[in-house]
C-alpha cells in the first residue's frame, strides 16, 4: 500500500529508449559474405541526440535500418522501450514504426504519386487518426517547416531542401519517440542543410530521441553524443557538451566520455 503512495524513482532503465547488444549484419550475395555490422552494442536514452559517423561502407546505414526494423539483424538483440524487438515479424515492426519511429532518408523518398499534403498526412491516417486530425497535424507541421504554400504540390516539383523538409514533416507526424535520419543533408546545399539541421535541433528540444547518420561534422556537432563506426565496429563513442557561449577555449568544449 505504501509503495503505491510513494512515486517510484526514475531509474536508469526507464530512461533507456533503445538498447542493442552484439548486433551483427552479414550480407550474403554471390561473392564472399560482407560483414556490414560486427557485434555493435550501444544504448540510447530518451531524448538523446546521437550522431553516427564513419566512412562509406562502415555499416552506418545498415545499423540504422536494423534499429528501424527495415532489415533483420543476422544476430544480436534490439530492445526498444524495454521490449525485445529483433525477432518481430515485419508486420509487428511496421506497427512499431508507425507509432514510435520516424525515418528520414538521403534521397527523401517521398511517395511520388502523392501530393505533399498526402505524404505528410499518411502516417497519421495510418495510425488511425480521423481525416480532420490528420489535416490539422499536417497544417501545423507544414507551417512550422515553412511549407504551407506547397501543400498541394507534387514532390517532383519541389527543390531538394523542400523535399527533405517534407520528409521530416512526414517523419514527425506521429510524434515518434525516435527519429532515424540517414544522411538527411547528404544531398543538400549549405542553405538547405541549415534548414534541416534547425528542424532537427527543434525536434531534439521537444525531447524526441534522434539517431543521425551523417558525414557532415556540422550536423554531428549538434548531437549529444557522436559514435564513429569503422568496418562495422564502434571505433569510438563520446558525449558532446553543449557549446558554451563564453570565451572558454575550444579544448574545454569537448569532453571525452567514458
Amino acid at each position: 500500500m505504501i509503495a503505491r503512495a510513494i512515486p517510484r524513482p526514475v531509474t536508469a532503465a526507464d530512461e533507456m529508449l533503445l538498447k542493442i547488444t552484439r548486433l551483427t549484419k552479414v550480407f550474403k550475395g554471390s561473392g564472399p559474405p560482407v560483414h556490414a555490422v560486427r557485434e555493435v552494442s550501444l544504448s540510447v536514452r530518451r531524448g538523446q541526440f546521437v550522431a553516427v559517423m564513419g566512412p562509406s561502407g562502415s555499416g552506418k546505414s545498415s545499423l540504422l535500418h536494423m534499429i528501424g526494423g527495415l532489415e533483420p539483424p543476422t544476430s544480436g538483440e534490439i530492445w526498444f522501450d524495454g521490449v525485445r524487438v529483433d525477432g518481430l515479424s515485419q508486420a509487428a515492426w511496421a506497427l512499431r514504426r508507425r507509432q514510435h519511429i520516424g525515418f528520414v532518408f538521403q534521397f527523401f523518398n517521398l511517395v511520388s504519386n502523392m501530393t505533399v499534403a498526402d505524404n505528410v498526412e499518411l502516417p497519421a491516417l495510418m495510425s488511425g487518426a480521423t481525416r480532420r486530425q490528420a489535416r490539422e497535424r499536417r497544417t501545423e507541421l507544414l507551417a512550422e517547416l515553412g511549407l504551407s504554400d506547397k501543400a498541394g504540390a507534387s514532390p517532383a516539383r519541389l527543390s531538394g531542401g523542400e523535399q527533405q523538409r517534407v520528409a521530416l514533416a512526414r517523419a514527425l507526424a506521429n510524434r515518434p519517440s525516435l527519429l532515424l535520419a540517414d544522411e538527411p543533408t547528404g544531398n543538400l546545399d549549405s542553405l538547405n542543410t541549415s534548414d534541416v539541421l534547425r528542424v532537427l535541433r527543434r525536434v531534439h528540444g521537444q525531447g524526441q530521441a534522434i539517431i543521425l547518420v551523417t558525414h557532415d561534422a556540422r550536423a554531428a556537432s549538434m548531437a549529444d553524443r557522436v559514435i564513429n563506426l569503422f568496418d562495422g565496429m564502434v571505433a569510438d563513442d563520446m558525449d558532446v557538451l553543449p557549446p558554451v557561449r563564453s570565451s572558454v577555449a575550444a579544448a574545454g568544449v569537448i569532453r571525452l566520455g567514458e
Binding site: L70, Q90, A91, A94, V111, S112, N113
Partner: protein
C-alpha cells in the same frame, strides 16, 4: 485503411492511361464473355428470347367452338388473355408432299400479347386477303419462301390457293417437325374457304399470368381446364414449348467455350502483367510506405484493392455496354442459330460479372503478394541492373547498326523478370491469336470440304411416292450424281439395355460411304464399323473392340475398325455397310440414298433436277452442314482479337513504363555524351520493340505448334473427334505478325517521346 485509400486514390490519379487500359481490358473481356454467353444461351434455349420479344402468353388452350372464355379472367394470377383466335386443321399440298398445318385466323392488326416476330416479308395485310404467314421452322421444312404459292386443303376437301407473304417466329409452340402440325396465320376469308362450317373450327386462347414459375403455371392451367370443363381440347404451357425448342449444339458450344476461356486467359495475363509492372515501377514508393509503417499485409491488400476497384469499374462498364449493345452487336447472327437475341437473365449477368471480378482479384493477388514482400531497404539501396555489352551488341555496333537501337534493345533484357512478364504476356496473346486463326481456317475447311466431317453427301433421296427400284434407277441415271450410297438409319440398343444410339448403314462393305477416317480404317467387311469419338467414349471402347448391340431385337456384333469425325447425333454414331445388317439377319428398314455430287454441282441445283425428273415424286432433302451455322465465328474472332490487342497494348505500355524508369538515368548520361533527343527516343522505342518482336516470334511459333492439336483436343472432348483441326493460313499469319509488330512499336512511341523531352539535368538527378 484511410491511409491505404489515400494511396490508392493518388496512384489511380497518377497513372490515368494505365488505369484506363486496364479498365478497358476488363470491360472488353466481360463484354466478350457476356455476349458469348448470350449467344450460347440464345442458341440452346431459343424459347426465352422468342418469348420475351413476342410478349408471349404462358398457357395456350385449344377450345371447342363458341366457348365463353371470359371466366378465365377470374382465375387468380391471370393478368391478360390473348385471342380467342379461330383455328382449323388443314394440309398444305406441294405436289406429292402433304404437310399437316394449323391455320390460325388473325387480323392485320398485330396482337399485343403473343406477337408474331416477322422475319421475312410482312405480316397479314388487308391488301392481300389470300396471304399466309408461315412459322419460320415450318416454312424451312416445306421449302417455302416469301412469294411461294401453296394449296391448302381442308379436312373435308375444300381447297384454297394462298401465297406466302411473310415468315414469322413465335413462342406459342415448338419448332417443326418436333411439334406438328406446322403453323400458318391467315385472314378470315381463307379460313372460311378451308373450313366453311364454323362449329368444326376450334378456338385458341392464350393466358398470361403474373407469376410464371412452373408450379404456378401448372396450377393456373389446371384451374383453367376445370373452369372450362369439357371444352378444352388441348393445353400447352411455356415449359413444354421451352423443352421442345431446347437443343444442344456441340460445335457452337465448343467454339464459345474456347472463346470464353481465351478471353479469360487474356484478362488474367493483363492483370498479372499490369499489376506486376506497376509494382515494379512503384518499388521505391512501396518501400517508403513500409518504412512509414505499412505492414506487408496492408501493402498486399492495398494493391489488390486498387486493382479490384479498377476491375469493378471495368466490370460495370462491361455490363452496361453489353446491356446496350447486345441487340446491335448480335444482330448479324443468323436466326437459325439464335432465333431471338435478348439480354441474358440478370442472375447470369451477376454470376459472370462476379466471376470476372473474382478473376481480377486472383490475378492481382500474386503481384500484390510480391509487393508486400518488397524490401523496405530498396528505398535506400536502389539496386540498378547492370550487365556486360553482349557479343551480339558489340557486333551490331561494329556493323554500324544505329547505336541507339542497339543500346535500347540491350537495355530491354537487363531486367529479367519484367522482360519475361512482358514477353510472356505478349507471346501468349500472339499464340492465342494464332490459335484463333487456326480455328478460322478449320471452320473454312469444314464449310468448304464437308466430306472431312462425314458429310460427303450433299443430298439424301427417299423414294417418296415411287418404289425402291424406280428411285434407284432415277438416282443412278442422274448425271449430276457422282455416287449414290444406299443408306439406312436405325436405332440400336446398347448392351446396358437402357441407352439407344443412332446407327447408320451407309453403302456396303464392298463400296463403303467415303467417310474421312481420322484413325484406323473404313469398314471393308460385314461386321466392321466405324464409330465417332463420342460413341467410343460412351462405350469405353477403342478401335479393335468388338461390341454387341440389338437392332430391331436382333443382336449384332460390330468390330470397331476406325474412328470418324461426326458433329451430329451428339457425336454418338456408328456407321457400317448395309450387308452387315443382312448378314446378321436384321430386317432392313426402308432404304434412302446418300448422294455425292459431281464437283461444281450445287445441292439445290441437283435437288431441283431430281425433283423435275421424278415429277416431284421423289423426296429430296439437302444435307445441312452444321458448319453453316458457324458464320458467327468471324465476329467472334474479331472480338477476340480486339480483346487480345488490348492485352498486348497493356503489356507494351507496362514494358515502356518499366523500361523508361530503368533507363532514364542511363539515358541522361548518354544524352550528356551526345545522343540527340531523337536518338534517345529511338533507343527507348527499340527497347520495347525488341521485347515485342521476341514475344511475337515465340507466340506465333508456340501458337502454330499447338493450334491444330488444341482444336483437335477440344473436338475430341466434345465427342466430335480429333481430326478436324487445320493450321492457320500463311497469309493470315503474315498479316497478324506484321500488324502486331507495328502496333507494339507504334504504342511505344508515345511514352518514349515524352521521356525523350525531359531535360538532361532532371534525368541525372537521383
Amino acid at each position: 485503411m484511410r491511409a491505404a485509400l489515400r494511396w490508392i486514390r493518388s496512384d489511380l490519379r497518377a497513372h490515368p492511361t494505365q488505369v484506363i487500359v486496364e479498365l478497358l481490358v476488363v470491360a472488353g473481356v466481360l463484354t466478350a464473355l457476356l455476349l458469348s454467353a448470350t449467344v450460347l444461351e440464345g442458341a440452346t434455349n431459343p424459347w426465352r428470347g422468342l418469348f420475351a420479344q413476342s410478349k408471349g402468353a404462358q398457357i395456350w388452350l385449344h377450345l371447342t367452338h363458341g366457348t365463353n372464355v371470359s371466366q378465365l379472367r377470374h382465375i387468380g394470377g391471370v393478368t391478360e388473355l390473348a385471342g380467342p383466335y379461330t383455328t382449323t386443321a388443314a394440309t398444305i399440298v406441294q405436289g406429292p408432299v402433304q404437310s399437316a398445318v394449323e391455320l390460325r385466323e388473325m387480323t392485320p392488326k398485330m396482337p399485343q400479347i403473343g406477337r408474331l416476330l416477322v422475319r421475312q416479308g410482312s405480316w397479314l395485310r388487308y391488301s392481300a386477303p389470300d396471304g399466309v404467314v408461315l412459322e419460320a421452322s415450318f416454312a424451312q421444312a416445306i421449302h417455302a419462301v416469301v412469294g411461294t404459292r401453296l394449296v391448302v386443303n381442308g379436312i373435308d376437301g375444300p381447297t384454297a390457293r394462298v401465297r406466302v407473304i411473310g415468315i414469322a417466329a413465335t413462342s406459342d409452340q415448338g419448332f417443326y417437325p418436333d411439334q406438328t402440325p406446322g403453323l400458318a396465320w391467315v385472314q378470315r376469308p381463307v379460313l372460311r374457304r378451308v373450313e366453311p362450317v364454323a362449329k368444326h373450327t376450334e378456338e385458341l386462347v392464350g393466358i398470361k399470368i403474373a407469376d410464371p414459375d412452373s408450379l404456378n403455371t401448372s396450377f393456373v392451367a389446371q384451374q383453367a381446364v376445370a373452369e372450362l370443363s369439357g371444352a378444352v381440347q388441348n393445353v400447352s404451357t411455356w415449359m413444354q414449348v421451352e423443352q421442345s425448342m431446347a437443343r444442344g449444339d456441340p460445335l457452337l458450344g465448343l467454339l464459345l467455350a474456347l472463346f470464353g476461356l481465351v478471353t479469360l486467359g487474356g484478362a488474367v495475363l493483363v492483370i498479372l502483367n499490369a499489376t506486376g509492372g506497376r509494382v515494379l515501377v512503384q518499388l521505391e514508393d512501396l518501400a517508403t510506405l513500409k518504412s512509414l509503417g505499412f505492414t506487408p499485409g496492408q501493402i498486399t491488400d492495398m494493391v489488390v484493392a486498387e486493382h479490384a476497384a479498377v476491375g469493378l469499374a471495368g466490370t460495370a462498364v462491361g455490363v452496361v455496354a453489353t446491356r446496350f449493345l447486345t441487340v446491335s452487336l448480335l444482330q448479324g447472327i443468323p436466326a437459325a442459330i439464335v432465333p431471338a437475341v435478348v439480354p441474358l437473365p440478370a442472375l447470369w449477368i451477376v454470376f459472370i460479372a462476379c466471376s470476372g471480378e473474382l478473376l481480377v482479384i486472383l490475378a492481382a493477388a500474386f503481384p500484390a503478394w510480391r509487393a508486400g514482400r518488397v524490401s523496405a531497404v530498396v528505398a535506400v539501396r536502389r539496386p540498378l541492373p547492370s550487365g556486360h555489352l553482349s557479343q551480339l551488341a558489340r557486333l551490331a555496333m561494329l556493323s554500324r547498326f544505329p547505336p541507339a537501337v542497339v543500346l535500347g534493345a540491350r537495355a530491354a533484357f537487363i531486367r529479367r523478370l519484367p522482360a519475361v512478364l512482358t514477353v510472356g504476356g505478349l507471346a501468349v496473346s500472339m499464340a492465342v491469336i494464332t490459335i484463333g486463326l487456326g480455328v478460322a481456317s478449320t471452320v473454312d475447311d469444314v464449310q468448304q470440304h464437308p466430306a472431312d466431317i462425314g458429310l460427303a453427301a450433299a443430298l439424301t433421296v427417299s423414294p417418296g411416292e415411287l418404289n425402291q427400284a424406280e428411285a434407284a434407277r432415277i438416282v443412278a441415271a442422274d448425271r449430276q450424281v457422282a455416287h449414290a450410297y444406299p443408306s439406312v438409319q436405325v436405332t440400336a440398343l446398347l448392351a446396358s439395355g437402357q441407352t439407344t444410339i443412332t446407327t447408320l448403314g451407309l453403302g456396303t462393305s464392298a463400296r463403303p460411304y467415303p467417310f474421312d477416317v481420322a484413325q484406323g480404317s473404313l469398314y471393308r467387311a460385314p461386321g466392321q464399323a466405324v464409330a465417332s469419338q463420342g460413341l467410343l467414349d460412351l462405350l469405353h471402347a477403342k478401335i479393335g473392340t468388338f461390341v454387341t448391340m440389338q437392332i430391331n431385337g436382333v443382336p449384332v456384333i460390330f468390330h470397331f475398325v476406325g474412328r470418324i469425325v461426326e458433329p451430329e447425333y451428339n457425336g454418338q454414331v456408328l456407321a457400317y455397310g448395309l450387308d452387315t445388317l443382312k448378314e446378321a439377319g436384321v430386317e432392313s428398314p426402308p432404304v434412302y440414298y446418300s448422294l455425292v455430287l459431281r464437283p461444281g454441282i450445287t445441292a439445290s441445283a441437283a435437288r431441283a433436277h431430281l425433283l423435275s425428273v421424278s415429277g416431284g415424286r421423289l423426296d429430296v432433302a439437302e444435307v445441312t452442314n452444321p458448319a453453316g451455322q458457324l458464320g458467327i465465328i468471324r465476329p467472334m474472332l474479331i472480338g477476340l482479337i480486339a480483346v487480345l490487342a488490348l492485352v498486348g497494348l497493356a503489356s507494351v505500355l507496362t514494358a515502356s513504363a518499366v523500361g523508361i524508369r530503368d533507363q532514364l538515368r542511363d539515358v541522361g548520361a548518354l544524352r550528356a555524351i551526345g545522343l540527340t533527343p531523337g536518338q534517345v527516343m529511338l533507343s527507348l522505342i527499340s527497347s520495347t520493340a525488341a521485347l515485342a518482336i521476341v514475344a511475337i516470334a515465340i507466340g506465333a511459333t508456340a501458337g502454330l505448334l499447338v493450334s491444330t492439336r488444341l482444336i483437335n483436343l477440344g473436338a475430341q472432348l466434345y465427342g466430335i473427334g480429333s481430326g478436324i483441326g487445320r493450321p492457320p493460313s500463311a497469309e493470315a499469319m503474315a498479316v497478324a505478325i506484321l500488324i502486331a509488330a507495328a502496333g507494339a512499336t507504334l504504342t511505344a512511341i508515345w511514352p518514349a517521346r515524352r521521356a525523350a523531352t525531359i531535360p538532361v539535368a532532371a534525368m541525372l538527378r537521383p
